[in-house]
Symmetry: C2
Subunit: 201 residues, 2 copies
């Protein structure tokens, strides 16, 4: 059976970097943006649109009426969001069955539960998340700390609702993960050899 590592992460915690570096250290396939590209290819929707709905709770985009029509039963936006999720679940399963891999976000830990993935959650305190976001931001970014804090909390709230909608589990609850890594005081590349060792035997 393939070795599958899923990474859940708080925004700004460096979870994506950890996933990428871990996949490089292990020689595993790495899936993140690749999933969006694949959905786009299969559904003919744009990557931008998929990005916009891919980690959003479907009820957020549930309009009561569209134009002057009132939808009582079917709702096209809701249906499309569900369709994207289903396509994503199919793609993630195919990727996991293909080879050893690291998959970031997208409820992969839940979608792949039958394949027993090793589930990592990456988190940090707010100050260090703000610092990480600043380091990655374009030079002309003007956000204050307060605005950045709001943005980080907002993104994580959406992730939490998305995760809870599709899995029925509380997002970031440590019992749903095998390992939770706090990156507040961590230089990510320095811990990679130790984390990688969990999968080398």
């Amino acid at each position: 059976m393939n070795k599958i590592i899923t990474i859940g992460r708080e925004f700004g915690s460096g979870g994506r970097e950890l996933g990428r570096r871990l996949s490089e250290a292990l020689g595993f396939a790495y899936y993140d943006q690749e999933i969006v590209s694949e959905i786009a290819k299969r559904t003919s929707l744009s990557e931008q649109y998929i990005e916009a709905i891919a980690e959003r709770h479907p009820l957020f985009s549930f309009p009561i009426h569209i134009g002057r029509s009132f939808y009582l039963s079917a709702n096209p936006v809701f249906e499309q969001t569900m369709k994207v999720y289903q396509e994503q679940a199919r793609i993630i399963t195919e990727m996991a069955e293909k080879s050893d891999c690291v998959i970031v976000g997208r409820c992969a830990d839940y979608i792949l539960k039958e394949l027993k993935p090793f589930r990592i959650f990456v988190y940090a305190d707010m100050e260090s998340k703000i610092k990480r976001c600043r380091e990655k931001a374009p030079a002309d970014e003007q956000l204050t700390d307060r605005e950045l804090r709001q943005q980080i909390s907002g993104i994580d709230k959406k992730r939490a609702k998305y995760y809870e909608f599709y899995t029925g589990h509380s997002w970031g609850d440590k019992l749903n993960f095998d390992l939770c890594i706090n990156t507040t005081q961590t230089v990510i590349k320095e811990i990679i050899p130790a984390i990688a060792k969990l999968f080398l035997s």
Copy 2:
């Protein structure tokens, strides 16, 4: 500065085993029962008595009246519990200043916060905790699963109240730890080399 590892743990999760094995792999001192023995030596209280109050919230042993007397100001049991905690904090600090070490339980993560310990929390789901307890239980133990579950929950509730009383933090909240390890599907000795690698540089 010494390398200090503190281990918080749910009852039955194997946290003590993890701490002991980690200290052996690293050649670090290991403190657990040693702390109780040292308190006993310094306070002239029995080890059994210290065990009984050492991880208990002091208000649990706060009697409204003792015999027919009613204590309005000082309460000897409360005071003794606080004294044991303070002695324990002193001993833990001395141990941490002496050499690299692993310390299990006893709010050591909080007591030593100025020394920047690496804080591990070990947890597991209830079924695997019951299984671990059964494996360690004496052959003549007759507890049902339900009784064992109650016992495990009861001990962890006491630990939580104790920790929250002395630290003001929520027990087991992942933000208070650097690494949280779920032992539900883990053979502890197999992950020790990887965890140890975090401290070898």
